[in-house]
C-alpha cells in the first residue's frame, strides 16, 4: 500500500487521493511539527493551530518516547533512512490511536536533509482491511513471512504449515513450472505491482479463485524488500461465471441454435442445426428463414403472422415441421426468442431447436404399437394366451413387441407348466392319501398286534406267576421230602443197627445152643460110659443101665432140640442178614432220594429265580408295550393329520387346476394337458377317506380289536363313489378349452 510513495511520477490526483486517505505530518530536523494534514488532525482530535510548532513528542506515547527504541528510530530518521514502525499515538485529551507510520527523509536540491515527512495509516483501517481481506506477506524470494486468518481460512492452512514455505505451494503445478510464473516473480522483484484474478491451490488440492494485488514494498533505495498481497476469495463468483458459460455451451452442444436478423435472414447457426437440416453455414448465411419451411406454409398468412409476432418481440415456441436440404422433412421442437436492444426493441432472433423428427415418427409408430399391445394385453387379461403382436416396429416398440410376445410366451409356458405341475401335485397328493390309508391300516394292524401282544403278555405273566408260585411250593415240598428222606435214612440206620443187634443176639443164642449141644453130647458120652460101666457091672448094673439109657435118651432129645433151634436160629440169622441187606439198600435208596431231592430243590430254586427274572422281563416288556402303544397312538394321530393334509392338498391341486383353466392355450396343448389330467385323476381315484376311519380304530389301542373291516369297506366304497363324480366335473371343465 505504501509503494505509492516511491512513485514520484504519480500524478497530483493520485497524491491528493493519498492525502485524503492517509495521515501526514512533517517536522523539522529538531522534531518540531511544521505541517499536518486533515486526516491526521481528525484522527488525533487536534486543530492545526494546536500542534504547529509543537514537538512531535506530544503525539508520542511518553513510555515509548523515553525508550531506546524511539531514540534509535530518531537517529535513523536523521541519518536519512526510511523508517517504518507501528505504534500508539496520543491524541487530544489522551485519545489513543494506533498507526502504521513511515518516516521518509525529505532532501533539498543539494541533497541535504531538509525535513522528515511521516505518512500514517490508521491501524484501524489496516485492521479493517485485515478483517475483510486475505493478507499474506512474502519476502522477495517468495517465502511466506506472515498470513492473516482470512488467507489461512481461504486456503485451509494453518500459519505454521505455510510459514517460510514458498509461494509456489499455492499455485497449480503446471503454472509453477511455467515461464509466466518466473516472470511473475521477476516483475515483483523489479518492484512492479500486479493485480488480477488468480487461481490458487488450497490445502488438499482445493481450487480457490482470488482477486488479488501483489504489492512490492520498496526500501528508500527503491529496492523492494517484501511483497504484501491483498486478496479476495472470488471462487464462488468465478464458479458461477464458469457455470453460466458452461450452461450456454451445453445448450449449444445439445440444441440446434440459429440466429436471425429481424428481417428473417440468417446470421449464424451452430453445427447441430446444420446437421439437422443438412446444410453448411455458408449455404444458409444471409438466406431467409423461409428456406426451411414448407412452400405452402411459406406463402401462408400464418407464416407472415409468425414473423410479425417476432418483430413485436413476442416469444414463439412450438413443434414445427421444417424442410431440410433436398426436401428432407424435419420436425423440430423450437423456441424463437427475440433479443431486445437497450431500448427494448428486438434486434435479432435466436432460435433454440431440438430435432424431434425421430420422436414424431416414433410417436406415430407408438400409437400403432400401443393399440396392438393393448389388444394383446387385454386378451392376456382375459386369459387368452394365443394372441401376439405381429406388426413390424422400429425403435422402442420393437422392444415392447419382443417383450410383450416374450411375456405371453413365458406366461403360456408358465401356465402350461403350472397346469402340468398341478396335475402332478394332484396325482402325488392322491398317492400320498392312498399311502396314508395304507399307513393307517398298518397302524391299525400294529395296534391290534400290540393289543394281542399285551393280552399274550398278560397270560404269560399269569403263567409265570403260577410257575413262580408252583416253584416256590415245589421248593417247599422238596424241602419236606428232603426232611422225610433224611428221617427215613435215620430210621434205616436204626433198623440196620437193630438188625445188627438181632444178629448179635442170634449169634449168642447160637453159641448158647452150641454149649447146650456140647452138654448134650457130653451127657450122651457120660450116659454111654455109665451104660458101659453098668454092663460091666452085670446084673447089679442093670437098673443103672436103665437110668443111663434114660439119660442118653434125654441127651439125644436135647441134642435133637438144640439142632432144631440151631437150624431155626440159622434161618433167622439168614433172614436178618437179608433184612439188613434190604434195609441197607433202602438206606442207599433214601440217600439217593435225598441227593435227588436236593438237586430237585436246587433246580426248583433256579426255576423260582428264573421265574422272577421272567416276571421282571415281562414287566419291562409291558412298559415297552405301553410305550409302543403310546407311539402307535401318536402315529395314528399323525396319520390322521397326514391324511387330512393330503386330502387338502388334493383339493388345493384341483382348485389350482380349475383356476388354471381360466387360461386359453392352443388346441394341441389342450389335448396333451387334458390327457395328463385324466391320468392324474385315475391316480386320485384311490380311496382317500378310508384313512380317517382306519386311524380311528387304530387309536383305540388297548381295547378289544373291533371288527373294522366292514367299516373300511364302507369308507372305501363311499370315497370310490365320490371321486368319479369329481372326475366327471373335471372332464366337463376341460371340454371348455
Amino acid at each position: 500500500m505504501l509503494n505509492f510513495m516511491t512513485e514520484a511520477k504519480e500524478d497530483k490526483a493520485a497524491l491528493a487521493t493519498m492525502h485524503s486517505a492517509l495521515g501526514y505530518v512533517e517536522y523539522d530536523l529538531t522534531g518540531h511539527i511544521i505541517g499536518m494534514n486533515q486526516v491526521y488532525l481528525d484522527a488525533m482530535g487536534y486543530r492545526l493551530e494546536e500542534v504547529l510548532g509543537k514537538h512531535q513528542s506530544i503525539l508520542i506515547d511518553p513510555v515509548y518516547a523515553a525508550s531506546a527504541e524511539y531514540k534509535r528510530s530518531l537517529e535513523r530518521q536523521l541519518k536519512g533512512d526510511i523508517v517504518t514502525s507501528e505504534g500508539k499515538r496520543i491524541g487530544k485529551n489522551g485519545k489513543e490511536v494506533w498507526f502504521q507510520v513511515v518516516y521518509a527523509p525529505v532532501f533539498d536540491a543539494n541533497k541535504k536533509l531538509k525535513k522528515i515527512a511521516a505518512y500514517l495509516c490508521i491501524a484501524g483501517q489496516i485492521a479493517a482491511i485485515q478483517k475483510s481481506q486475505a493478507v499474506i506477506e512474502f519476502n522477495m524470494e517468495g517465502a511466506v513471512l506472515n498470513a492473516n486468518p482470512n488467507f489461512l481460512n481461504a486456503l485451509g492452512y494453518t500459519l505454521d504449515e505455510i510459514m517460510g514455505k514458498h509461494h509456489s505451494m499455492f499455485v497449480d503445478p503446471a503454472y509453477r513450472a511455467s515461464i509466466e510464473y518466473s516472470e511473475f516473480w521477476a516483475k515483483l522483484n523489479r518492484g512492479e505491482y500486479q493485480a488480477a484474478e488468480y487461481k490458487r491451490i488450497g490445502k488438499g488440492g482445493k481450487e480457490v479463485w482470488i482477486q488479488a494485488s501483489y504489492n512490492p514494498i520498496l526500501d528508500l533505495s527503491g529496492k523492494p524488500f517484501k511483497v504484501v498481497k491483498y486478496a479476495t476469495d472470488t471462487t464462488k463468483q468465478k464458479m458461477q461465471n464458469a457455470d453460466h458459460a458452461a450452461q450456454i455451451a451445453a445448450i449449444g452442444k445439445a440444441q440446434a441454435v440459429i440466429s436471425f436478423n429481424m428481417d428473417g435472414t440468417v446470421i449464424d447457426a451452430n453445427p447441430n442445426f446444420l446437421n439437422a437440416l443438412g446444410y453448411t453455414l455458408e449455404e444458409i448465411r444471409g438466406k431467409h428463414h423461409s428456406l426451411f419451411v414448407d412452400p405452402a406454409y411459406r406463402n401462408s398468412v400464418d407464416y407472415k403472422q409468425f414473423w410479425e409476432n417476432l418483430n413485436r418481440g413476442e416469444y414463439q415456441a412450438a413443434e414445427y415441421k421444417r424442410i431440410g436440404k433436398g426436401g428432407k422433412e424435419v420436425w423440430i421442437q423450437a423456441s424463437y426468442n427475440p433479443i431486445m436492444d437497450l431500448n427494448g426493441k428486438p434486434f435479432k432472433v435466436v432460435k433454440y431447436a431440438t430435432d424431434v423428427t425421430q420422436m414424431v415418427v416414433t410417436r406415430i409408430e407408438n400409437e400403432m404399437g400401443m393399440n396392438e399391445a393393448v389388444k394383446v394385453l387385454t386378451g392376456v387379461a382375459a386369459g387368452n394366451l394365443t394372441e401376439k403382436m405381429t406388426l413390424d416396429y422400429k425403435g422402442t416398440f420393437a422392444d415392447i413387441k419382443k417383450a410383450v410376445n416374450a411375456t405371453v410366451d413365458r406366461l403360456y409356458d408358465m401356465v402350461k407348466n403350472i397346469i402340468v405341475a398341478a396335475q402332478s401335485v394332484n396325482s402325488a397328493a392322491s398317492e400320498i392319501a392312498s399311502g396314508s390309508t395304507d399307513l393307517s391300516q398298518r397302524t391299525e394292524e400294529q395296534a391290534s398286534s400290540l393289543e394281542e401282544t399285551a393280552a399274550s403278555m398278560e397270560e404269560i405273566t399269569g403263567t409265570v406267576k403260577q410257575n413262580s408260585s408252583n416253584a416256590a411250593n415245589a421248593n417247599e415240598l422238596s424241602g419236606k421230602a428232603n426232611q422225610v428222606a433224611s428221617d427215613g435214612g435215620k430210621v434205616v440206620e436204626d433198623a440196620v443197627s437193630a438188625m445188627g443187634s438181632i444178629e448179635k443176639s442170634s449169634q449168642k443164642i447160637s453159641d448158647i445152643i452150641g454149649v447146650i449141644d456140647e452138654i448134650a453130647f457130653q451127657t450122651n458120652l457120660l450116659a454111654l460110659n455109665a451104660a458101659v460101666e453098668a454092663a460091666r457091672a452085670g446084673d447089679a448094673g442093670k437098673g443103672f443101665a436103665v437110668v443111663a439109657s434114660e439119660v442118653r435118651s434125654l441127651a439125644g432129645r436135647s441134642a435133637s432140640a438144640s439142632k432144631e433151634i440151631k437150624t431155626l436160629i440159622n434161618e433167622s440169622a439168614q433172614q436178618v442178614r437179608t433184612g439188613a441187606t434190604l434195609v441197607n439198600q433202602a438206606g442207599d435208596t433214601l440217600k439217593n432220594i435225598v441227593s435227588s431231592v436236593k438237586q430237585v430243590s436246587t433246580i426248583v430254586s433256579e426255576i423260582a429265580r428264573a421265574s422272577q427274572e421272567q416276571a421282571n422281563g415281562i414287566d419291562e416288556i409291558n412298559t415297552a408295550i405301553t410305550q409302543m402303544d403310546e407311539v402307535t397312538q401318536q402315529n395314528a394321530a399323525l396319520v390322521e393329520e397326514n391324511t387330512a393334509a393330503a386330502q387338502s392338498m388334493v383339493e388345493q391341486a384341483q382348485s389350482l387346476e380349475r383356476l388354471m383353466s381360466f387360461f386359453t392355450l392352443n388346441e394341441q396343448e389342450e389335448g396333451m394337458v387334458a390327457h395328463s389330467n385324466i391320468v392324474a385323476m385315475d391316480a386320485g381315484r384311490k380311496p382317500v377317506a378310508s384313512a380317517r376311519s382306519a386311524v380311528k380304530s387304530a387309536s383305540s389301542v388297548g381295547n378289544k380289536p373291533k371288527p373294522t373291516a366292514s367299516h373300511h369297506a364302507a369308507a372305501a366304497h363311499a370315497s370310490a363313489k365320490a371321486v368319479p363324480k369329481e372326475n366327471a366335473n373335471y372332464d366337463k371343465e376341460w371340454k371348455e378349452f
Partner: protein, 168 residues
C-alpha cells in the same frame, strides 16, 4: 434109640442073662459097626493126640489117659476110607485088646445093643469093606446092618508096640 431100648427090654430077662450080649455100636462114614461092650473101657470126646514117627498111617498118635499111653487109631483110615477130619464131636472109644488098651476114632457112638446069640449072623465072605478076618459077625436089625468087629485082629499090635517103645 428109645425103640431099640424098648425092644431090648422086651427080651426075656432070664434068657437074656444067659445068652444075650451087649454091643456098643458106632458109625464110620455112615456105616454102623459094633464092638462087645465088655471090651469097652471108656468113651470120650476127641482130643488132639501126639503123633508118633514111623507109625502106621491109620495111627493118629498116642494119648495120655490118666498116666497110660494109649495109641489112637483112625477107623476110617484103617477101613481105607480116607482120614477123619476130627472135631470135638468125634468120639474116641477106649478098648481093651489083650493086655493093652487102644483108642479108636469114630464119627459117633450110636447105641448099646442087647443082642441074643441067634441074632448074630456069620460074616459073609465078600460083602463088606472090611477084611473078613476083622469081622466077627453081623447083626441085622429091621432096617440096618451092624458089622461086629474083631478088634484084636484089626491092628498088628507087635508093630504098634514097637512103635510105642521106640517113641518112649
Amino acid at each position: 434109640m428109645a425103640d431099640n431100648f424098648d425092644k431090648t427090654r422086651a427080651i426075656d430077662k432070664a434068657e437074656a442073662e444067659q445068652k444075650a450080649r451087649q454091643f456098643l455100636t458106632f458109625t464110620v462114614d455112615h456105616e454102623e459097626y459094633g464092638v462087645d461092650i465088655m471090651t469097652v473101657r471108656e468113651i470120650k470126646g476127641w482130643t488132639e493126640t501126639t503123633r508118633l514117627p514111623n507109625a502106621p498111617e491109620f495111627m493118629r498118635g498116642v494119648m495120655n489117659l490118666r498116666g497110660l499111653i494109649i495109641p489112637i487109631f483112625d477107623m476110617r483110615t484103617r477101613l481105607h476110607l480116607g482120614m477123619t477130619e476130627a472135631t470135638a464131636k468125634h468120639v474116641v472109644i477106649i478098648l481093651a485088646v489083650g493086655e493093652r488098651n487102644i483108642g479108636i476114632l469114630v464119627d459117633a457112638v450110636s447105641d448099646i445093643l442087647d443082642v441074643s446069640a441067634d441074632q448074630i449072623k456069620p460074616a459073609p465072605t465078600v460083602d463088606t469093606q472090611v477084611d473078613a478076618g476083622f469081622i466077627s459077625g453081623l447083626i441085622s436089625l429091621e432096617s440096618r446092618m451092624v458089622v461086629l468087629l474083631a478088634v484084636e485082629h484089626l491092628f498088628d499090635m507087635q508093630h504098634i508096640e514097637k512103635a510105642i517103645a521106640e517113641a518112649a
